[in-house]
């Protein structure tokens, strides 16, 4: 359905390491303009790592990541600075700046990237707060907000510059089902109102199925499947079904490797 649309995120053969350990093992993915792509996977699947690389917070071992047509693994710092104006990120814990009010948090990207006067910036920040149903909360400190409000404030900051790309890390983590559902509605509303391309990383199935246009299932650093909600639901891949049905992994244990780990001796010396 989306294949003829332009790919605004294009990842090719992304390999990353954390120290010696390989985290992503050659991930390739396209995200099309205006779609909501949910990246799903269990703990340790590499989904949070994948997001950090999409955000340009680390340099990958190999592979390329194109955002809006620019390869961020090759981009110089000035180019990255320009590109960041078109990206918004809402982190898992909100990551609001605790020393600033909620309003100042939302204003920060505008102050950094625009030359607008104070009054305009303040109005724009209040507009964004209204959009996430936090009108009138701009003078509060982040510590005075509830968990759901923090996430919404972080979202308001993420969309302050009307970015073309919005990244959302674990929108429902730590929230009750009602607040989490509200946040899902909000993400859908934002996509429709502001026409953003949204990448959501989550392990919450309900939320993923509700908002996703397409879902990418990551497992142990590999992509298991990219498809629509229906395709994922009907997938006969065993690991996907494990994830959907909350089944514990049935991993086959290699007795030699197990012994080697227990006795802390290399396999070949055993």
């Amino acid at each position: 359905m989306n294949s003829e649309r332009e790919a605004v995120i294009r990842v090719r053969d992304l390999v990353t390491h954390y120290g010696e350990r390989q985290i992503l093992k050659g991930v390739s993915l396209d995200v099309h303009a205006g779609e909501i792509m949910v990246i799903m996977g269990g703990s340790g699947s590499g989904k949070s790592t994948f997001l950090r690389f999409l955000l340009g917070l680390h340099q990958p071992t190999s592979g390329s990541i194109e955002l809006l047509g620019q390869d961020i693994t090759q981009l110089d710092s000035q180019g990255m600075y320009e590109l960041r104006k078109k990206m918004g990120v809402s982190f898992q814990g909100g990551a609001l700046f605790n020393s600033m009010t909620v309003g100042e948090n939302v204003q920060l990207p505008l102050r950094e990237h625009t030359e607008l006067d104070d009054a305009t910036i303040e109005i724009m920040s209040r507009l964004k707060l209204e959009l996430v149903n936090l009108g009138g909360f701009d003078r509060l400190m982040p510590a005075q907000l509830s968990g759901g409000m923090v996430k919404r404030a972080a979202l308001a900051r993420a969309i302050a510059m009307d970015p073309r790309l919005l990244f959302f890390d674990e929108p429902s983590a730590g929230l009750d089902p009602v607040v989490s559902a509200e946040l899902d509605e909000l993400i859908l509303k934002l996509r429709d109102a502001l026409n953003m391309t949204i990448v959501v990383v989550t392990h919450e199935l309900d939320s993923a199925f509700k908002i996703a246009d397409r879902i990418t299932v990551l497992d142990q650093g590999d992509i298991l499947l990219v498809g629509t909600v229906e395709e994922v639901r009907n997938s006969d891949n065993r690991r996907v079904q494990d994830l959907l049905n909350r089944r514990p992994r049935e991993e086959v244990i290699d007795p030699d490797a197990y012994m080697a780990r227990l006795t802390d001796t290399p396999l070949n010396e055993l």
Partner: protein
């Protein structure tokens, strides 16, 4: 086997220490880059942040600096008079106080105080921001954390630590004068005259120059430890303690080297 392991640990420790010094150097270079090149790239270091830091690090520390420096002056007077008594030359204590305060003690006491008050605060602040992903948030907004957090603190410390040192000079000399006048019976005016006679600009500048070095050490060590924080509140506590111990050690060692080369 044990000797080998000891050697290995020594090697690892050395590599880590060199790495750390290298990191401090890189942090300094990056701070200077943003200070001088930032404005031309439309990413300046904010002046408001510098003033805010100056207030927190400097103005708020004035009372405690005055008190400590006064105490050091009194202490030097007591010890000086005690020592000089052996030679029956109590009145010469003025020279000893004047030189040791300006050349040594003021900058040292200010350095240690600022390291404990503000170096730790900086490590804790940056460390908390690392743990809460606020540093990541800054970076994705396009705000370089060194420009935003380290450069203003560095400038503020470079202004404030030397200023506090001069203030401490005055307070310590006053403390010495008060005690000496009570114990030996030299009037405050005579004390001031004697002090003015022996002190040269070089003496005062030696303390002030040290203060510049201490300022850099405090800023860089505080920031480097903060950026190295991992693992929640406990991690922040660890790097905060580490930054205080490291910066005080660095200050004392730098002071020793400085004194060696400037005094001989």
């Amino acid at each position: 086997m044990n000797a080998l392991r000891g050697l290995e640990n020594l090697g690892r420790g050395t590599v880590r220490a060199v790495e750390e010094v290298g990191y401090l150097g890189a942090l300094l270079a990056e701070s200077l880059y943003w200070l001088f090149v930032g404005p031309f790239r439309k990413q300046p270091v904010r002046v408001e942040a510098v003033f805010q830091q100056m207030r927190q690090v400097g103005v708020n520390a004035v009372p405690i600096v005055l008190m400590l420096a006064f105490g050091v002056g009194v202490m030097l007077a007591i010890q000086g008079i005690h020592t000089m008594k052996t030679f029956g030359a109590e009145s010469k204590v003025v020279i000893g106080i004047a030189l040791s305060v300006t050349r040594e003690f003021s900058s040292l006491i200010v350095g240690i105080l600022v390291a404990g008050r503000s170096g730790s605060a900086m490590a804790a602040r940056i460390g908390t921001m690392v743990v809460n992903q606020e540093i990541d948030a800054l970076r994705v907004i396009g705000i370089n954390p060194v420009r935003y957090l380290v450069a203003p603190a560095l400038v503020a410390l470079l202004i404030v630590v030397p200023a506090l040192t001069v203030l401490a000079d005055i307070a310590a000399l006053f403390g010495g004068a008060v005690y000496t006048s009570l114990d030996v019976g030299i009037s405050l005016a005579a004390y001031a005259q004697d002090t003015a006679d022996v002190l040269t600009v070089d003496d005062v500048m030696q303390g002030v120059n040290k203060a510049f070095v201490f300022a850099v050490l405090i800023a860089l060590i505080g920031a480097a430890n903060g950026f190295g924080a991992t693992g929640g509140a406990e991690g922040v506590g660890k790097v905060t303690t580490r930054s205080v111990v490291m910066s005080i050690s660095a200050i004392v060692m730098a002071d020793m080297l400085f004194t060696f080369f400037l005094t001989r």
